[in-house]
Symmetry: C2
Subunit: 94 residues, 2 copies
């Protein structure tokens, strides 16, 4: 699935209620779903389901913020955006 198509289906499905809720409430939902990934990582919950929900809330937030996720992802299309290498040759990030 194209990233742009994913964002577009979220727009068509949710933009009215996302707009009604607003940026702050949608951000709060994103963080709640990030927390559910944390919980699933310790075995409580379905990882695929929770990663999908994070992607979806991130897409809803991007729609409200006017951000094109395809453009956002493109920085990584050719590997590390800092060093341009695959594998990344930057100093190790802890």
């Amino acid at each position: 699935m194209e990233i742009a198509a994913f964002q577009d289906v979220l727009r068509r499905a949710y933009v009215e209620r996302d707009t009604e809720r607003g940026v702050d409430g949608t951000f709060r939902w994103l963080t709640e779903e990030v927390g559910e990934v944390a919980r699933a990582l310790r075995g409580d919950g379905d990882l695929v389901h929770e990663f999908g929900d994070v992607l979806a809330w991130l897409g809803s937030l991007a729609n409200l913020a006017g951000v094109d996720l395809e453009e956002a992802a493109a920085r990584y299309a050719n590997g590390c955006p800092k060093c341009g290498a695959i594998p990344c040759g930057c100093a190790f990030v802890r």
Copy 2:
């Protein structure tokens, strides 16, 4: 860009250092980048850049957790996974 291709380039670029850092440290980076989205939403920082970084750290975490982001996103491919409608017909989510 396909979601699977995005996850694959992250794997090729970062999987060694992601593995060395581990799931917990990578999760911590994800939340740091979510915080940078919060900051960019109030005008301090570049939104496209920060959304891209969240996508990238989410992809790195998915690689470590063995989660296929394409599969995760597929729940939303036909609209709301709960009601199956576009636009979503579920009760409003605050």
